[in-house]
């Protein structure tokens, strides 16, 4: 079908057209900006309750700025990709690799902090517990994804 139009084939996310909906995490361009705003609101509320509304407002302003950047930064492919809409299979792959890399960095920091705590005669908390949750989450994810594939 040379010259044919294939635009009906939605190729969002890794995998076939069949499972495109399974990998579509951000269905709207408003999703991530609104999530940023929501997170900023939670930070503001938590800090307000904790008696520090000034820092809470700074946190809210920062996340509102991030939300605005994601919403209006349409000329940058990176901002578009971070914002959600317009992602295709390449972006899904970038997202998976970036998530894995982030997990690796967090894990290295957690192990370092845990060892630091142990070396100073403390029980290693809360880093040990966080690593236990992470390890369990990884095993459950592997079992689930293996069962699903």
């Amino acid at each position: 079908m040379t010259g044919g139009n294939c635009s009906d084939n939605r190729r969002k996310g890794v995998g076939s057209d069949h499972d495109a909906d399974d990998t579509e995490i951000h269905p709207s361009r408003w999703w991530m900006p609104l999530f940023s705003l929501f997170l900023g609101g939670l930070i503001l509320a938590a800090m307000w309750i904790g008696g520090n509304p000034r820092d809470g407002l700074w946190g809210f302003a920062l996340l509102a700025g991030v939300g605005a950047l994601l919403l209006f930064g349409t000329r940058s492919e990176t901002l578009q990709g971070l914002g959600g809409p317009g992602r295709d299979e390449r972006w899904a792959m970038i997202d998976i690799h970036a998530t894995a890399l982030t997990g690796l960095v967090v894990l290295v920091v957690l192990i370092g902090a845990w060892l630091w705590e142990l070396a100073h005669g403390r029980d290693g908390g809360p880093y040990g517990q966080i690593m236990a949750v992470a390890g369990l989450a990884y095993i459950v994810s592997v079992v689930f994804l293996r069962w699903r594939s």
């Binding site: 010259g3 084939n9 190729r11 299979e89």
Partner: protein, 65 residues
């Protein structure tokens, strides 16, 4: 993965943007495929092969990776 996408696209007078729209991916994805930095998924490779009316193994060369 080595591929003939750029040659096939330019032979048809299409821009990267045109091909991206037809494949329902971003222009940057077509650019990455042409520069052999990104290997497309099997569905996208098959759709590209169908679009250019060529067997997929004539467009993509896994041994040339």
């Amino acid at each position: 993965m080595k591929n003939e996408i750029r040659e096939l696209r330019t032979a048809r007078g299409l821009s990267q943007e045109d091909l991206a729209k037809k494949m329902d991916v971003s222009r940057q994805t077509i650019n990455s495929i042409e520069k052999e930095r990104y290997t497309p998924s099997l569905p996208l490779a098959l759709t590209l092969a169908r679009f250019f009316a060529k067997p997929v193994e004539e467009i993509f060369d896994a041994k040339g990776e």
